[in-house]
Amino acid sequence: MVLQRVFTGALLLVCIALAVMAWPYKASFSYEPVGPRAFPLLMLGLMGLSLLYQLFRPTPIVHSEEEPALDRETLIKIAACIGLLLVFAGLFEPLGFILSSILIGIPMARLYGGRWLASTVVVIIMSIALYLLFDKAMDVPLPLGVLDFVEN
């Protein structure tokens, strides 16, 4: 409940900040009665009102039966997973698709309870297979990065 209040409050602050940001939006010359800022401001206003209500009268969160409570361990795992995804995004172009997906795929498989050997084998095979499937067979261009020399 506290978490929900904090989140609602934060969202409300973001709303206000965005509204301030939207205030100066004006068309330099305009031939229509509604300018570029009316609609966003209307949306932000409605959102602000709803959030305000939510802040004072939070709706209880209904948990499904098999959902375990968040403990420290899971939170660390989630943070690690987010970290890995960010590393993936950062290294996607410099290292290339195959290497970066192997690099993050193996620790990720470990996070979800895979064993070292099995994870390594599966991730390496899948990375190469996915590269061939998408880049070669389906014409979705993927960066090779440092593996560029293989192409030439």
Binding site: P36, I82, Y112
Partner: protein, 505 residues
């Protein structure tokens, strides 16, 4: 008669070998995607958008592929609910109630084929409904001006909250978030950069695929971390694979009733498959009364939700095609796909590009038949896929999601954005906010703003235009009813609680 000749033309489009292969691939991919935990029709369709585009598929083939994936996903979801008792998505929860007990009694094959059959009949009824009503609706919708459209979209958004039941306010907030997000980027009318923070990457707004994959795939990957259980043992599908005539006949009336119900629920914006299946199950349970063994493997209990899901999946395409207003998360994604091809769904589509519309409708027939036929030889393969453990699955899902996002614009900025949106989506999910209203809002946002501005330009700024025509007035009244519905429900719930409390004393 016009309709029939158009339909024949549609079959001509759908039956070309190229499009048949597209439908076959779509149903196969869809079934597998629907089987996997954490991937539903929304992710499945969204992942395929950039790929279909990169493959250079013509618009009608791409649309056929995507709708086949949609139907396949709905079908795949039922395999895991029947064999594992784990509903792949919210709409298949009702299927587990009688499907899993049937599988435990050694009727897994029968349950699967019967559910495929039910869903087929549902889809058939809905497709017939679509053939009958969609052109009429489209003809009627041509009379819609910008003001009518604006009001209609307000209605669609409010419907989501009204139908969602226990958390109307959260649904509303989610929809507003989506509506707001669609404003980011350069404003088409005035050229003003809105909320871009001077970033070049945001100039043309948040990419739809990035938003979908972030919200649904990434947040699902994070959610899967919480579930510790490993690949579950599926009930073996042995023995008789096909239902027999007697069994089919015993559920035939259920199929007809729930098919009609599902179609109507599918057409209504915001209701969708989840509500349709729940209402169908409850109604049939009540109608069967004491004679039913609902909850212990009653065939009617399996057939009812499945028929409704099949019918509503097709029914949801009606508002999307005729009005250009999506009624569910998945149809919102399909509108996103169409806009990539510069096709704006709406009443004009029926006149300008009948090939696309009728080709799609015809291919729905074909995809449904394919699903029933595929079911028999492929069931064993599908059950194998269910046994793939999460540790092998999740990295692959993550990597494919990355590919899907990168394929849109080939920038790593989008990848970072996807992770950011994913974290936001995860928090929203943990706090019990529904996610698909965000998508719907995002799709409707741009249209809504354009129509509002156009309407007010026509009236030169006078707001009366928004409620002056009979159509707008009717829709406003419906909107007001929808707004009052949750309030009424809460009030009734509260008074019921008071009565309970009094009884306790």
């Amino acid at each position: 008669m016009d309709t029939l000749s158009y339909l024949a033309q549609g079959f001509g489009v759908a039956l070309t070998p190229y499009n048949l292969i597209a439908a076959l691939c779509g149903t196969l991919i869809g079934t597998v995607v629907g089987l996997l935990p954490g991937l539903g029709p929304i992710n499945g369709v969204a992942l395929l958008i950039p790929i279909a585009f990169a493959l250079g598929l013509p618009p009608e083939s791409a649309l056929i592929l995507l709708s086949a994936v949609y139907l396949g996903c709905e079908y795949g979801g039922r395999i895991s609910s029947i064999l594992l008792n784990i509903p792949g998505e919210a709409s298949t929860v009702m299927t587990t109630l009688d499907g899993y007990p049937m599988a435990r009694q050694g009727m897994a094959g029968v349950a699967l084929s019967l559910s495929a059959w039910s869903s087929f009949i549902g889809a058939l009824i809905a497709t017939c409904g679509m053939v009958l009503f969609a052109p009429l609706l489209a003809k009627w919708a041509i009379a819609f001006g910008p003001a009518e459209y604006f009001v209609l979209m307000v209605f669609a958004i409010v419907c989501l909250g009204g139908m969602a039941g226990n958390r109307p306010l959260k649904t509303f907030i989610a929809a507003l978030i989506g509506l707001f997000l669609s404003n980011i980027g350069i404003d088409a009318n005035s050229g003003v950069y809105r909320f871009t923070g001077d970033s070049v990457h945001l100039a043309d707004g948040i990419q739809f695929v990035v938003l979908v994959l972030g919200l649904f795939s990434v947040s699902e990957i994070l959610l899967l971390l919480e579930k510790t259980h490993q690949g579950q043992e599926a009930v073996k599908a042995t023995g008789r694979m096909m239902f027999n005539l007697k069994e089919a006949a015993s559920v035939f009336m259920v199929n007809i009733r729930c098919g009609l119900l599902g179609f109507i629920m599918g057409v209504l914006p915001g209701a969708g498959a989840t509500l349709a299946s729940a209402v169908a199950y409850m109604t049939e349970k009540r109608m069967a009364g004491k004679s039913g063994t609902f909850g212990q493997g009653d065939m009617r209990g399996l057939a009812a939700p499945e028929t409704a899901i099949g019918a509503s999946a097709c029914g949801a395409l009606v508002p999307m095609l005729t009005l250009g207003v999506p009624g569910s998360g998945t149809t919102a994604v399909m509108i996103g796909a169409l806009s990539l091809y510069n096709i704006t769904p709406g009443p004009m589509l029926f006149q300008q590009q009948p090939d696309i519309v009728w080709g799609l409708i015809a291919s729905l027939f074909i995809a449904n038949i394919m699903l029933v036929i595929l079911n028999i030889p492929m069931i064993r393969v599908f059950t194998r896929i269910l046994a793939v453990p999460n540790w092998a699955l999740v990295p692959i899902i993550a990597i494919i999601t990355g590919i899907g996002v990168y394929a849109v614009h080939a920038t790593t900025f989008d990848l970072f954005m996807m992770v950011g949106i994913g974290i936001f989506g995860y928090i929203l999910r943990k706090l019990d906010f529904p996610l698909s209203p965000i998508l719907l809002g995002f799709i409707l946002g741009g249209l809504m703003e354009q129509n509002l501005r156009r309407a007010l330009s026509i009236s030169n700024g006078a707001l009366e235009i928004l409620w002056s025509s009979p159509i707008t007035l009717t829709v406003w009244v419906l909107t007001a009813i929808m707004l009052l519905l949750p309030v009424l429900r809460i009030w009734r719930g509260r008074s019921a609680k008071v009565v309970d409390a009094l009884n306790d004393v």
